[in-house]
Chain length 345, copies 2
DNA sequence: CGCATGAATGTGACCGGTCACACAAGGCGC
DNA sequence: GCGCCTTGTGTGACCGGTCACATTCATGCG
């Protein structure tokens, strides 16, 4: 029940116009800050707006102007820490720019389902951000019709990142390189790699950063172990690796994987970092509190989301500030899970 | 560059009408499945729709019909596992019902900021779901103007949950009760409780479930330790508790807290579960892989999100199926972190 | 056979804004 | 004092749909 008796239809500019004794166009001018409105008139209109509690109808605005001020985020998942952080970053920037944020979950990577989601995002108008770290995301990014404003949050840019390519990414190669070098510098003969699924057919940036560090150090290059995204994958992968006593250092494609690896090493009785060192990727919030706490590379997902929005915003409006990929550099965080290899080795 | 040369304006129903040689109204009838359209006409219209690639403009539809088919989720955070899962559940149901999902993050609990977010959500039209587990969410829920379709995902229903109260919740009381009983049944004299911040001034359901179990068992009731949401809070709280040798069982308000508690116990050299048992809440994906793996109570957040949408959907459309709070019952998951108290105790 | 009835379709107004243009009043140059 | 430009304001059409009502034509029935 409403104080005023019943819920009344919200005031439109014509209601305001009548109340202020002007035409609706004048009201429109006032709300849009048009210069040529006499101060006295402006005052009257503003008073009427205040009194009637007028708010500009977003739907009508979108229909008339053609601009939706909306960004739709397409993602395969909202619960993964990285994805959720990117979303949060996008929302933060979008809110500051008075954009609405929509979200679409790509439940399957099947073409029809992906196409349907892209359609829905397209129907919403405005811009699209696709988190393309996984097959579903990659397909979605590919399925966006040419000419639409879209930004992909990708593992690696698909072509030379010159100019205004519609992608943002973190320097995963550098991150993997740093982590691998860290482990090698502790004295490990080589570093094994448990990989997250690659979104493309090409070698992932993480893999190549790892590989480069090994090559530079003249370390043997073991086959990367392909795994999944979650702890279960890391667990399974590490159960195999643990059987090989020569394995003393494991780099994991993300912190979830590392968690599973830690668990598997514990189950097989291999001490971390005494016998085996483990490093992750992402610096998820729980990684610092694991036992042992996890050495990892911190990636600024929130910043990545902000960058994605900035890029989109620039494409959508001339006036928007075109931030040049200000994604911060990955930062190695050394914790307990990495140490020198067993001396007897 | 587009195949057709340049991006053309999408086809409207009038374009389709012209192509099919009928009036725009007939096209409208066809897309809305109105019965009285001659099959031959319908065919022609459908062919024109297909040929022109017509898609109904969501903005125009919203403006004309007044119905937005949108649900906006207001939340303080997108990265917490529980919140993110609820969001995912809402999105899932919304997608099935062809609703768009918008998201607004309540960055601060400050009144003005919360009010602004609620306004934005209101402007979007459609329904609102507020995740009201924290002060920001609770305020947002309170700030939603009377009469608007809104559903709160709350810790505890504010008033007798009879009829069609616009809230969904999990049975936290039962969950805490189960976990506490489990610990007591292992032989612990009592169970200490590290609480997440309560969203309301009243005693939280989790607290009262814990309390009831203690009372029924005739166990002494220690003061609950107020903490924060994240692992850091649990860590700090447990550092204090660890000093007291009589503490042999700790129930934590969520799994993140439990993670911090485990870490603190490790740091202070208290074995889990040898000396101290720990149980959490939520069953986050990583909890099963911790060392020791975490005994916890599984809550169906995704189902909660689905229930929230179902309730909203029912309020928004007569035809919608009104699912009666089908949130699944919390389920105790016993893992390694809980066991009998030290025998010498 | 005339008229009521219903099916099939079309017309105009409307949702709440914006945009392009018309128009009145006032200041300035000549 | 006339034209012209500028300032302030109003009018009409439009965005792409929906809704209420009008119209046409075939049909059924008394």
């Amino acid at each position: 029940m409403n104080v005023t008796g019943h819920t009344r239809r919200p005031a439109s500019i014509r209601d305001v116009a009548t109340a202020a004794g002007v035409s609706y166009q004048t009201v429109s001018r006032v709300i849009n800050g048009h210069p040529s409105v006499r101060p006295a008139t402006r005052e009257r209109v503003l008073a009427a707006i205040e009194e009637l509690g007028f708010r500009r109808n977003a739907t009508a605005l979108a229909l008339a102007s053609g601009r939706t001020r909306t960004v739709t985020v397409l993602t395969a998942n909202t619960t993964h820490y990285g994805y959720a952080s990117i979303l949060q970053g996008i929302e933060e920037s979008a809110r500051a720019a008075s954009y609405a944020v929509g979200i679409g979950v790509l439940e399957s990577a099947e073409d029809a389902a992906v196409a349907a989601e892209v359609q829905r995002a397209t129907d919403a108008g405005g811009g699209i951000v696709v988190i393309a770290y996984d097959p579903a995301g990659v397909r979605a990014l590919g399925a966006v019709p040419e000419g639409l404003p879209v930004v992909g949050v990708v593992e690696t840019p698909a072509s030379p990142p010159g100019g205004d390519s519609p992608w943002v990414w973190t320097d995963d190669r550098e991150a993997a390189y740093q982590a691998t070098r860290h482990l090698l510098s502790l004295g490990h003969e080589t570093v094994h790699y448990v990989a997250i699924p690659s979104s493309t057919r090409r070698t992932s940036a993480r893999t190549s950063g790892w590989r480069q560090a090994l090559k530079e150090a003249g370390a043997p290059e073991p086959r990367p172990v392909q795994s999944s995204w979650g702890p279960a994958g890391g667990h399974a992968a590490a159960l195999k690796l643990a059987r090989d006593p020569s394995v003393t250092a494991i780099l994991c494609g993300n912190d979830d994987l590392a968690l599973g690896v830690l668990r598997a090493l514990h189950e097989t009785g291999r001490a971390v970092p005494g016998e085996v060192s483990v490093a992750g990727f992402d610096d998820a919030p729980h990684s610092a509190f694991l036992t042992p706490s996890l050495t990892t590379v911190r990636l600024d997902f929130t910043g990545l989301g902000r960058a994605a929005f900035a890029l989109l915003h620039g494409a959508l409006e001339e006036s928007a500030p075109v931030a040049p990929h200000p994604v911060s550099v990955p930062e190695l965080v050394v914790r307990e899970s990495s140490g020198p290899p067993p001396s007897g080795s």
